[in-house]
Symmetry: C2
Subunit: 394 residues, 2 copies
Amino acid sequence: MKKILEGVTVIDFTQAYSGPFCAMQLADFGARVIKIERACVGDQSREWTPFRNDYSGYYASINRNKESLSLNIASEEGQNIVKALVKDADIVLENFKYGTLAKMGLDYEELKKINPGLIFASLSGFGQSGPLKKLAAYDNVVQSMCGIMDITGYPDGDPCRVGPGIGDSFTGLLVCNGILMAYQHKLKTGEGQCLNVAMLDALFGIVENAILEKTVENKDLARLGTRNALFAPYDVFTCTDGLYTVAVTTDSDFAVFCNAIGKPAMAEDARFATNDARLANYDAMMAQLRPWFADKTRAQADEVMTAANVAGGMVQDIPEVMHDEQLIARDMFLEIDDPGIGLHKNMANPVKMSKTPAALKNGSPLLGQDSDHILEELGYSADTIAAYREAHII
Amino acid sequence: MKKILEGVTVIDFTQAYSGPFCAMQLADFGARVIKIERACVGDQSREWTPFRNDYSGYYASINRNKESLSLNIASEEGQNIVKALVKDADIVLENFKYGTLAKMGLDYEELKKINPGLIFASLSGFGQSGPLKKLAAYDNVVQSMCGIMDITGYPDGDPCRVGPGIGDSFTGLLVCNGILMAYQHKLKTGEGQCLNVAMLDALFGIVENAILEKTVENKDLARLGTRNALFAPYDVFTCTDGLYTVAVTTDSDFAVFCNAIGKPAMAEDARFATNDARLANYDAMMAQLRPWFADKTRAQADEVMTAANVAGGMVQDIPEVMHDEQLIARDMFLEIDDPGIGLHKNMANPVKMSKTPAALKNGSPLLGQDSDHILEELGYSADTIAAYREAHII
């Protein structure tokens, strides 16, 4: 199988989640990602749980298929190494605080002098412009500011954070999109450019209908727990062994659903016959639907929904997810023999391509494991490399 | 400014959220997206709130910059039109139920005979393989099955749905990534391919550390409300006028934070000096921190955090988000004069590129507004077009 991004070189200064997640998308499809990590310290996620053999599973989960160069980029020697690398690179990726690279003469304005075709991509909490550009942000801060936290949670409870750090993963993917487009432009024209994505912008862009309700109808959409403002029933039901989720989005689907659970009269009832009526009479509708689920297991409910072709699924906890047959069939559990944490299961790349699929080259790198090799490639002598290591330049 | 995807043609069969969101990313950067909508009916999201002038703001929010061709693809004439379009297209995008296009002879196997370089991208709940491939799914179903719902919500409460439909937006972006890579491969080799992304896979891929905690340490991570398993304090605090979010991820940041709120002794206290200790003594820590916020407005808290360079931000509701100065400065509110709902503010594209930026060409199309023009381009006569309209083929 071909690796679509083979021959593409990424100099990756990022750490934590968003940047490494972005770079991993590129590495999964064959790009050479040289991850520059702070000498003797490394990516901050190396300190994040879970641990095995003193290595971080967190780090392992978003850094496969990369090389690690440990480097003190505050030193002149370190800066020279960066410039030598950038000369032949396609992409620089960075998520430093605003202005950090400029202080070291490694910002886009400087680096494009060395390599005019360079693509320079920045990720940060607030982006490279605007009054907050200099401030750091983490996922919970941007989830808060973009409105998503306020519309996640139960109506009678507090706003709630989305469990996973979607501010990071989503921003990482958007940057990846930008990089792929910029690379195409470069292939066509030879021209480089810089691009940036802010976590705040990224999450604001997916607030979905709550923004539109405000701008179009001046309505304030509240948080709705497991419900949805658009459709009913689009919610969870309590079964004997947990929760089961149903999604009915049309009136004809509602009739099918009512038949499946032996309540065909509900679909004829004026209170429930249309989606608008169901939204208006939500509690009455749920009161009639809930008993059917209450004495069944989730598996029993699922069997009926599947047979009737009603969209539904179990609310699974993580141990259950680990045994999900669909995810297994989709090869979403990637076995990796990681140099640090060893053999383990990880989340595979979800983009399934017929001719140029994602591939596993290696697990996440040990800190600086490729430093010697990379410096040799750049023409540094064994003596210089040894001296640099002694001086903690690498 | 150049449009990086100018010259790229997408035949887009998708409806609802994920597919149109994907196609909009391509359209924003200059691709020609011909949206094929069911004749006389249109994309199902045309029926989704909010409405203005009887047009859907939901539809408007994810269909800008596209053309609309209304078409009955169950008719032979409709299928011929599709084939004529595909002949010169680069990309087909579809989110039908599994097998729908095959029944009409419009699946990848057939279409690649017409256009061997075609990129054929499918989005669906469960993907094009595995035991569940034939089932429909919506965002709430995949949020449930992937584990995200179970880890979103408060520890003493029920699992909670993430407010926005992240199963759709995230999957759409992944497909966009896949398309951009496949297009690059096509430019290089002339070769087309098919690709698919499942919503379930997409969301599973961003469950983040909860999966690793299980596979690496066999720990079950519970939902944590506004907290986080990795860092403390990484949570919200109640101010006089709402909630304020703080993210402290290192011990040195904690010392800075404690100084900023006039409690420097806390950073020296063995119970709180390290992140592990703070996680272990969470309630005691929060009990000491909360009073500082309790008598301040969010703006007052924000001023102190900003001055101290501590990552923080207000939990904003949607009306507040609409006036967020950072989002305004980032041009994230796009004014669109939509042919349907008229002038309104929408969410702009968050990928900010220096040489090939996203641009607004037109608002979301009226149903079939481009049918005549597109058929004329294909060589159909005015008489045939009129007859097709009469027969509801277009």
